[in-house]
Symmetry: none
Subunit: 384 residues, 2 copies
């Protein structure tokens, strides 16, 4: 029994090693920590297939501002009028979007994912194309801006949010989602699809001679949450529209690898300086709360084997509607039902499934506890 388990463990370890060795070779071939100069579609074509864990993209928004916009006091609004944000028509925007998304999908590992941020000017086109290309949307996230620019003319609702789409490479992908870290970050409540974050301003906003270095610099807090939620340390993050390098700065801080594409030399210079100044966090600060899914597994039999629970011990659910007794091999018996704590739990309830760890209770040191409490004790005792 023990020998078999060890053999299985060894096989798994070998598989993991092989696959991580292949990944390491691929990773070596990548221009990690570099900003690739020029058109992002061309630069992406030069990168190897299935090599990227996560893509974050903040593409041009296709803004169609009719002429200049003035505040009520007559002062001029510094709108997005840079030449890279002009497209003749939706058709041209779609062609451009389809091209870079196609390359993005080629670059992603099978279990990779993408984030794209946009506003109502472009996000519907991006979302529909993502679906058309085979990406699988996991969530749309609303970045609710704490301090948006008001609508000066009073002609519409204040445009107070932007939309992000999170999508895996395909429907079947086993994407990364650090559920527990997100729940911890949100004071023990599930993280919702609407995120309240301030816009990028103050000292974080990069200025050259008092002028914004980039018109749409994203707050680091936004990238922080994205990477914490959907990457692991060491993962490779690609940003095809790198701008002033928010993605690179946060990736470095969080111990993720990064690659950027950018055509504007001005932005590249700003980004390189900024990322060099970003300090990586040390490893202990980087550790996040693990989900039980990724924690080491304990079989119920181990608790019996270790003597923590004696064969013959009585188990019962919280309301003592059902009873069961523990047997020497770690199975349990309730009436004529025999099997694992999970199987018998679901059988007596007539439920399709059951977590025996939380369903069954036990008297331990004069208290009634769920089995899960004893598992925690076992884990503590086993850890060196």
């Amino acid at each position: 029994m023990v020998a078999l388990a060890k053999e299985r463990q060894a096989k798994t370890a070998v598989r993991a090693l092989r696959s991580s060795a292949a990944a390491a070779v691929t990773k070596l071939a990548l221009p990690l920590g570099q900003i690739l100069r020029g058109d992002c579609i061309e630069r992406m074509r030069e990168l190897p297939t299935a090599s990227i864990d996560l893509i974050f993209a903040d593409p041009p928004y296709n803004l169609q501002l009719g002429g200049d916009l003035a505040r009520p006091d007559g002062s001029h609004v510094d709108a997005v009028t840079d030449h890279w944000d002009k497209f003749d028509s939706f058709e041209r925007y779609d062609t451009f979007t389809r091209e870079w998304l196609t390359e993005a999908r080629r670059l992603l590992k099978p279990d990779g994912a993408i984030w794209v941020i946009g506003s109502y000017h472009n996000i519907f086109r991006v979302g529909a194309l993502l679906q058309d290309l085979g990406f699988w949307i996991l969530n749309d996230i609303v970045w609710r801006k704490a301090n948006p620019m008001p609508n000066f003319k009073g002609t519409r609702f204040t445009n107070a949010h932007e939309t992000l789409i999170w999508a895996s490479r395909s429907e079947k992908a086993k994407y990364t989602f650090n559920y527990r870290a997100m729940k911890t970050l949100n004071d023990e409540l599930q993280m919702r699809s609407d995120w309240v974050l301030p816009i990028c301003g103050g000292p974080e906003r990069i200025r050259k001679d008092g002028v914004k270095a980039h018109p749409t610099q994203k707050p680091e807090a936004l990238l922080y949450r994205i990477m914490l939620a959907t990457t692991n340390p060491g993962d490779v993050v690609l940003d095809p529209f790198f701008g002033t390098g928010t993605t690179g700065a946060v990736a470095r801080r969080l111990g993720r690898e990064w690659i950027g594409c950018e055509r504007e030399e001005d932005y590249i210079a700003v980004a390189e300086e900024r990322i060099a100044a970003a300090l990586p966090l040390d490893e202990s600060a980087l550790t996040t709360m693990m989900s039980k899914r990724s924690a080491p597994r304990v079989a119920f039999g181990q608790l019996v084997e270790s003597g923590m629970i004696a064969p013959g011990t009585a188990l019962f659910d919280r309301k003592r509607r059902w009873n069961a007794s523990v047997r020497a091999d770690g199975s349990i018996a309730a009436g004529d039902q025999l099997g694992s704590i999970h199987g018998v739990g679901s059988a007596v309830q007539g439920a399709p499934s059951c977590n025996g760890w939380t369903f069954w209770h036990i008297e331990h040191e004069g208290e009634v506890k769920p089995l899960d409490a004893l598992r925690q004790l076992y884990l503590l005792a086993v850890e060196d």
Copy 2:
């Protein structure tokens, strides 16, 4: 000069009279206050061109759900499995959407507008098609649900919002927007593009024999805000997916005319009864319905995310009896205790509970401060 001006005035008056007379005739020809039975595209084809002021549409979302879903307590989640939400492919969904949107555009007056609500499953396709057909998007509005259904399996972010698109018939349309009404409704602040409203439940939710009459009934508060913002009294509002008639009920209460299309006889019966019982506008009811605002809540993780507190930072209690260090996900570590500021605070003291905001302190700008002081700073930075 004066004579000329008078003549001009007279001509304008005649034109206005003619146009309003024409409008009155068109309006007479409309099936106002009626639910048109059958397929919405066929019924819309029978209505006159340029006769409608506003369209509100809550089309099928094309959810594409998998198997059954159970809550952690084992109970069953009642999903939307109705036949009307099933489509074979995105292509089929697009065809359906293009057809009803085309009719919708024909029916709208030149200065008319449309609202469509959806989720990430369908809204990107709807938005792109609106743009393709010549509609002009004015805002995308996020309905932030105060009480959404959680993500039971911990696999994604809680799907806590739905998206509405508000678009005029064309770029040049002089659409209706009651800016003052919205600002008044929002305590003299511009109404933003994110609206916090509870989902439809309690006495408002229509049930037959204890079972919900419609799986996706929308809250009246949502329609109230839409009609108040973008129609005038007497305007004609068309709802092609009438369901249980929320649009009709609210239109009646607000003194707007309405027309609905619906295929399902069960829904029609419910809607007719409901609208007949709808009372005329009651100002006090309106105020309470609209006054639900979001209370600012700050999670400790937000301070970490925003860069206000760096991972690795040392925390200590007022008497420096215990120390802890901040981790990247907003959890803290004190010895082998890991968890939230509150949980670790109570654990180290052996106390049943602890307010981590006042218990833990930090060195900030050369001073020792409770975390709560930094929370106040964060709130100041984030407030409008």
